[in-house]
């Protein structure tokens, strides 16, 4: 049942068996799993059922690194959370992602891929995907498209499933509409988690509605599921018992913040032909799939590399032209009133490829398509998504500024380490050797391109690691069941619990770990909340 928090009376005290904070994929999954458990459950959602700018602005953060994407754009604060604008790419983490890898500091999950496999299988249904099969060979055979004949000791082809994408709010709202066992409170922002005694147990949470009432919710168990930045923010801001916040006795909350940086780092110029259909979108039984390249686990282990996801993007010769690229850069700089850097270099590029620049302008002016000729398709760009190494210094802290609810805004410190950067080039080096060996083409790395960490850098908008799971409280916040260390009844869900971020999108793993958590919550509840 949906309840509009704006219509509650101020001072209302609600009581439930389980209180879930956050109505994104993690919160909705847990609430659905608990529906038939016989427990009274509430879900507190910050937004409504549609986009609302007032609530969205609560995501505003102080970004210490200007290249880091605006958090107001990367997340959505209404029922369904950021699944309201996700792309739908799904892939489970690799076996090695869960293992301790000596060359990846602070790596290793407190459970294995095998432990999570049954939940991944169930997560497929949540994300409206087909069977839990991620073997590229099987799919290639099924759709009769050849894979690249990569050296299996070096690289592998992988396949990802594409959700429609499932907008969790829209798809699952009917489940909650008439259900009396789960109350979904809209416009309800948790501003503080209240611990009792010396802070080993949570009693209630304070909830505020923007320009509306304040109320509280007491429960036997609490689940924090508000995303990688907000989970840390709420824990840090709940400092009435411990000044450093809840679950933060070892100064780990908010640290180890990870993203999935994506760098357009290489261009492939074809010297031969190859069938690239598997590495573009392909369809099987009305569902979409796409292939990508990554390192073999064997090579990653041998060379002590973190993995990457290399996606091929077919390009016309216009996109690959440095002359046209320079033309755009100079044009943009002038339009912005800036003096172009390296003006003579750009002019040189433009004149050396004046034929291309002229033709591109002609096509633009006369509205001609860029793929008019077969010859236009001359190569591929590689968008490379990097598994970022956990780093204590990348972190979410509290800013001195406050939002309209009086909550400290998050302050985000993020950078890409030189180690990650070097790892990225080494992975591309392996790719270059493979495409050369296969006679497909030659790779040109953009190592010297000054735009590499600005214009050519984008992000997966995946916020991970700020309440990482582990067995040691000195470098983790939650245990193997995602329960906050030293707290009896506070759990965290979502990608903030990931100790490492893998090289694939996190949503399927968020859903799988949330199903696993809900099973644990049910087992605890059976023993008495």
């Amino acid at each position: 049942m949906f309840v509009n928090g704006q219509q509650l009376e101020s001072g209302t005290a609600l009581e439930y068996d389980i209180c879930i904070i956050g109505g994104g994929p993690a919160g909705i999954t847990i609430a659905r799993e608990l529906k038939s458990s016989g427990l009274s459950v509430c879900l507190l959602e910050s937004g409504g059922r549609d986009f609302d700018l007032t609530n969205q602005e609560l995501y505003e953060a102080d970004l210490q690194n200007p290249v880091f994407p605006d958090t107001m754009m990367s997340r959505l604060r209404f029922f369904g959370g950021s699944t309201n604008h996700w792309e739908g790419a799904c892939h489970p983490f690799s076996t090695s992602d869960f293992e301790y890898r000596p060359w990846v500091p602070d790596s290793g999950w407190p459970f294995s891929k095998r432990d999570l496999d049954p939940y991944y299988e169930r997560a497929q249904t949540y994300c409206e995907l087909s069977s839990y099969n991620y073997h590229a060979q099987d799919w290639a055979k099924k759709v009769d498209i050849p894979l690249l004949k990569l050296d299996p000791s070096k690289m592998r082809s992988e396949v990802q499933h594409h959700s429609t994408p499932t907008l969790f709010g829209w798809v699952y709202e009917d489940d909650f509409e008439q259900d009396v066992s789960v109350d979904v409170y809209l416009y309800s922002n948790v501003t503080r988690i209240n611990a009792v005694g010396t802070g080993e147990r949570i009693e209630s949470v304070d909830v505020k509605v923007v320009r509306g009432p304040s109320f509280s919710v007491s429960a036997g168990l609490f689940v924090l599921a508000t995303g990688g930045i907000e989970n840390a923010r709420i824990l840090l801001a709940s400092n009435n018992v411990h000044s450093d916040g809840i679950g933060n006795s070892h100064d780990v909350v908010g640290r180890y913040f990870m993203e999935h940086p994506v760098i357009e780092g290489a261009e492939l110029y074809l010297t031969g032909t190859f069938d690239s259909r598997f590495y573009d979108f392909f369809v099987s039984d009305d569902r979409y799939y796409s292939g990508f390249l990554s390192l073999s686990e064997e090579l990653a282990s041998q060379r002590q590399l973190a993995n990457v996801k290399m996606t091929m993007v077919e390009q016309s010769r216009y996109y690959l032209s440095r002359g046209i690229s320079s033309f755009h850069q100079v044009k943009d700089d002038i339009a912005n009133g800036d003096a172009p850097d390296n003006l003579w270099g750009h002019i040189g590029n433009i004149f050396s490829e004046i034929d291309m620049v002229g033709e591109a302008i002609y096509r633009k002016v006369f509205n001609r398509k860029f793929f008019d000729h077969a010859n236009d398709k001359v190569g591929y760009l590689f968008d490379v998504m990097i598994e970022q190494t956990p780093d204590r210094e990348n972190r979410v802290k509290l800013s001195g500024d406050r939002d309209v609810l009086g909550m400290p805004k998050p302050s985000i410190e993020w950078s890409l380490s030189s180690r990650d950067y070097e790892n990225f080039w080494q992975c591309l080096g392996v790719l270059a050797e493979e495409v050369g060996r296969l006679g497909i083409g030659r790779l040109r790395l953009k190592r010297e391109d000054k735009r590499l960490l600005t214009d050519l850098l984008s992000f997966g908008h995946h916020h991970m690691g700020t309440t990482r799971a582990g067995t040691n409280p000195r470098n983790s916040v939650v245990d193997e069941n995602f329960k906050v260390h030293d707290l009896a009844n506070l759990f965290v869900a979502g990608s903030s619990c990931f100790p490492t971020g893998g090289h694939v999108p996190p949503t399927l793993t968020i859903v799988a770990t949330s199903i696993r958590l809900s099973e644990h919550l049910k087992s605890i509840a059976k023993g008495g909340v």
Binding site: Y269, L270, T271, G429
Partner: protein
């Protein structure tokens, strides 16, 4: 050098460098023979020189005409068959030489014998041949 030219150069790596090398070994002028022996891909010989120049600047120890020739002879022309003056070269021999070069390039990539030139990741063998073309043109 246009991008289209670069693409064609990339496509022509094996063929182009083989022709130039043949010319070197046979003593014929690189600019004269290949067009007859191979195809229009050699219109991008200038691009090969550019890459060769950059390679030799990055690896000055390779900027030695004799050294490069010896390397390449050792690799492909140890038998010294078929490569004669004035382009009087049997088609079978050329085909064979080309195949040998392509195999060596493939083997270079397999073994990680690669170098980076202007961002390109190229096999050492093809770079040696580009270097040779560049030295010959200088």
């Amino acid at each position: 050098m246009t991008l289209f030219a670069r693409r064609r150069i990339a496509r022509a790596f094996g063929v182009l460098v083989c022709g130039a090398a043949v010319a070197q070994v046979s003593g014929a002028a690189a600019s004269r023979q290949p067009i007859l022996l191979w195809d229009s891909l050699f219109s991008d010989c200038l691009a090969a020189c550019c890459v060769g120049n950059s390679y030799l600047k990055s690896f000055p120890c390779r900027a030695d005409h004799r050294l490069l020739l010896e390397q390449l002879n050792g690799c492909f022309f140890g038998e010294r068959i078929g490569f004669c003056l004035e382009g009087v070269v049997g088609a079978e021999s050329l085909r064979s030489a080309r195949l040998k070069i392509l195999e060596k390039v493939k083997s270079d990539f397999s073994k990680g014998h690669v170098v980076s030139v202007d961002g390109w990741v190229l096999s050492v063998t093809e770079c040696d041949i580009f270097g040779l073309i560049s030295l010959r043109s200088a």
